[in-house]
């Protein structure tokens, strides 16, 4: 009979686990603080040349008008142009980050993201239909949003239906996603071909992704939907962890693998849809944020999911802040900026020698 360790050993292990978990909570907290700092900095950035003092005066004056004074111009710029855009970047980045982490976990694939699964391509196609065939008029904007949203969900349904034929496994879902990506890309290209020069340009710009047209209303809607979906996702963290060990092991641990996979994919797509229908295609956040997080705190989804969200929010806010200051007063579409940030990161990953971080 082997000696069991003395009880002292066991508590030592327990304590070490607590320390282990504490590091993750610390990371989450750190990310949260980072985001607050980034918000604080981002509000002071912009072409309007407001001083830091003016910006904060405008913010505080809204709540405590008797304490601080602010000019109407500063107040308008901060409250009607900057704040909702900054908060939207956080919410959108959070949603995309979490959606990406969920997709990578559900499909056990480090390259899974809304981009690679054809979901973004479907949204682009929806927008293109309205742009090329729309009769113009002010309802065009709303029609674009609705079409992009509807087609994103259609693509998800397509992935689900296609993969059901072959069994709801990661392989079949990924293949189905790739099929749809090529299909929608081809159809979008066709629309670009038959459209006028102006329409072609607008379709292309939609695919660049932009936070130009955010508003408080849109922010509320996105936050609501994302906030609603988060508990669903978080409650399934353990199932996602188990699925990381393989479908069969997960089943043996009590996880209903195909149902969980389907539901999580649907929720991740819903979150993605509600974001990109407003912003256009913003790539790389869903791909890069989970990887960064995994590098820092490992693969336990209880921490990985929310942390990916926070990292995604920080990334997108940084990208957007850069996008509107680098060439000020001109604006670079934020989707281009996120690609610029994402590529060096992937280069770094590629050059690392350590295997199996994933």
């Amino acid at each position: 009979m082997d000696q069991k360790g003395a009880p002292g050993d066991l508590s030592h292990l327990r304590e070490e686990y607590h320390r282990f978990a504490a590091k993750r909570y610390l990371f989450l907290g750190g990310c949260g603080i980072l985001i607050l700092i980034l918000i604080g900095i981002a509000t002071t950035l912009g072409s309007a040349d407001l001083t830091i003092g003016e910006v904060y005066a405008a913010i505080i004056a809204r709540f405590f008008p008797s304490v601080v004074e602010s000019t109407p111009l500063a107040s308008t710029i901060v409250w009607e142009y900057r704040l909702h855009r900054i908060l939207f970047a956080i919410a959108a980045g959070f949603g995309l980050g979490i959606a990406g982490a969920v997709m990578q976990g559900v499909l056990r694939n480090p390259l899974a993201s809304p981009f690679t699964l054809g979901i973004s391509a479907a949204a682009s196609f929806g927008a293109s239909i309205v742009i090329v065939f729309g009769i113009g008029g002010f309802t065009n904007d709303i029609a674009i949003i609705i079409a992009a949203f509807v087609f994103t969900l259609l693509a998800t349904f397509g992935i689900y239906s296609l993969s059901r034929v072959r069994g709801i496994s990661p392989e079949s879902m990924i293949l189905a996603g790739i099929i749809l990506m090529y299909l929608f890309s081809a159809m979008t290209s066709f629309l670009q071909y038959i459209g006028t020069v102006d329409q072609l340009q607008e379709v292309v710009f939609w695919t660049f992704g932009s936070l130009q047209r955010t508003s408080w209303g849109k922010l509320a809607l996105v936050s609501l939907v994302v906030g609603f979906c988060i508990p669903f996702i978080m409650l399934r963290s353990w199932d996602l962890n188990a699925m990381g060990q393989g479908d069969q092991v997960a089943k043996s641990m009590g996880v209903d693998v195909s149902r969980t996979r389907t539901r999580l994919m649907l929720i991740a797509s819903l979150v993605t849809a509600i974001i990109i229908c407003f912003t256009g295609v913003i790539g790389f956040i869903g791909l890069v944020a989970p990887h960064i997080t995994r590098l820092a705190i490992g693969g336990d989804n209880r921490f990985l999911l929310p942390a990916s969200g926070l990292v995604g929010g920080a990334l997108l806010l940084t990208a957007d802040s850069l996008a509107r200051t680098v060439l000020a007063p001109a604006i670079i579409p934020v989707g281009i900026m996120t690609s610029f940030i994402g590529i060096p990161f992937f280069l770094y990953l590629f050059l690392r020698k350590r295997e199996g971080y994933w």
Binding site: D9, L13, L235, K251, S252, M253, G254
Partner: protein, 259 residues
């Protein structure tokens, strides 16, 4: 609790893999399943754990498994796969903690942590506890897999060729561990084995399968005869009892060699 299997069958597409398999096993008994490649031993194990949905009836402790939820099954039966090639980003402790999933809703309780720590101590892998899975050897990984199954507090332990990727020393260690679990927890153990010699040494009972059917069931000493080996494996072998356990030493294939 007793495992009883009656008339189990399973087809993949139009290929029949298991045909009318019936047997039972008692607590504390290590039952090995052996047979040539493709005989269906891995599939049988997965059917018992309802990873696949078979035809026929599987009863454990008198209850029909088809009536239980996946979580209830997971609290009774644990499954250890052949080798681990995924899920590497986690640490050893976290991977073992996963085995508590049938008992965890959201937060990890102290009881869960105690169970994991106890198992880690039993397997003497404390020094590995917070290493990443990529940083340990294959043999150590297999131990971690068994540890994960153990924290599930199962009454039936299913193992799919647990030693196929291990070196000599680790093979012995893992087999000793399995026997200990069966004895101490009074759990039934069902183990698909490749190596007949390991089976003969560590299994209380042995089941030989061929082409989806059970062809023989009994103790290793009853089953491991030259005739059986020739029938099932189509190999001429010598059975030796020198080491104190029956050893099968293959000599030459029977009949024509089709290479």
């Amino acid at each position: 609790m007793t495992l009883t299997v009656r008339g189990l069958s399973f087809s993949y597409g139009d290929r029949e893999i298991l045909h009318d398999v019936s047997f039972s096993t008692a607590p504390g008994v290590v039952l090995g399943i052996a047979g040539p490649n493709g005989c269906g031993k891995t599939t049988l194990i997965k059917c018992i754990d309802r990873i696949f949905e078979p035809g026929g009836r599987v009863e454990f402790g008198g209850k029909d498994m088809a009536d239980l939820s996946t979580t209830e099954i997971a609290q009774l039966i644990a499954y250890v796969p052949q080798a681990l090639t995924i899920g590497m980003a986690m640490s050893v402790f976290e991977t073992i903690l996963l085995g508590r999933r049938p008992y965890i809703r959201w937060s990890v309780s102290d009881a869960d942590l105690e169970r994991v720590s106890a198992v880690i101590a039993e397997l003497a892998i404390q020094h590995l506890a917070f290493r990443k899975m990529t940083q340990i050897s294959g043999g150590e990984r297999q131990k971690v897999m068994i540890a994960r199954a153990m924290v599930q507090d199962p009454l039936l332990l299913l193992l799919d060729e647990p030693t196929s990727a291990l070196d000599l020393r680790h093979q012995l260690e893992v087999m000793e561990l399995v026997r200990r679990v069966a004895r101490d927890k009074e759990a039934s153990v069902l183990m698909a084995v490749h190596d007949l010699n390991l089976a003969s040494r560590f299994c209380d009972r042995l089941m030989i399968m061929k082409e989806g059917r059970i062809v023989a069931m009994g103790t290793p000493s009853e089953l491991l005869t030259r005739e059986l080996i020739r029938d099932v494996y189509e190999v001429d072998a010598v059975i030796s009892g020198e080491s104190g356990y029956l050893q099968v030493i293959p000599v030459r294939p029977v009949g024509e060699i089709t290479v």
